[in-house]
Assembly symmetry: C2
Homo-oligomer: 131 residues x 2
């Protein structure tokens, strides 16, 4: 991980290393979990270069706000979308997808997740290396 | 406005200058306005040093995520709370309050506002200068 760049992008705390459903080093800090006034919790997710989450789907959907670095968002059957600071992604309900850092960059986003997430298989190295 | 510092903090677009209910120079860019999956819109608000919004209240509440600079949040009848990068504020419904930059710093926050806002009088210079 490029620590200098990461420290420049760290707005919200890094939090704890994610232990499941991810490939590579990723970190999660919940920044908002109150029951009101939003219908969602908010987590700050930081991916080391090459790190990404497994294929998964959100039963209600999810919104990503990218706060630093460069990454990918890919829905099943579609080309990967390149993401960078300031990008916003509205992920539809029950659409299988993954997100994570590029090979060469850290990547940080806020994730607003109003419902339950269903987790599937990892994004394997052969798939990721094609990007 | 300290442009160099502001540019370092600009994650989401600056947007347009706010024309009403603010004192000093402030800018608003809506970053999320889709009807689903969140119960809220999300705006990026940037305050020049000394800029602040009028006293106001949110009928459902509001959540602030501070992404840069230094500012104040004050509820009526309470001491002002100092805010800096990474701070999160859960503003209760129907509580009269204001927020804005310190005298010497720009200030940037995301604002998640699920309902209607009621606007009141400006935070006058005499009040602000006491901080």
């Amino acid at each position: 991980m490029k620590n200098e760049q990461l420290s420049n992008s760290t707005i919200f705390p890094l939090g704890e290393k994610v232990q499941a459903y991810f490939t590579g080093d990723a970190y999660l800090q919940m920044v908002f979990t109150d029951p009101a006034p939003l219908n969602t919790v908010i987590g700050n997710v930081t991916f080391a270069p090459g790190a990404r989450n497994n294929w998964h789907a959100h039963q209600i959907g999810q919104v990503l706000l990218v706060t630093g670095g460069n990454g990918w968002y890919q829905e099943e059957g579609k080309p990967a979308r390149s993401l960078t600071t300031g990008d916003v992604v509205n992920i539809p309900p029950n659409v299988k997808h993954w997100h994570g850092a590029t090979k060469d960059s850290w990547f940080v986003h806020l994730a607003m997740t109003p419902g339950t997430t269903d987790w599937f298989e990892a994004v394997d190295d052969a798939w990721f290396d094609e990007l």
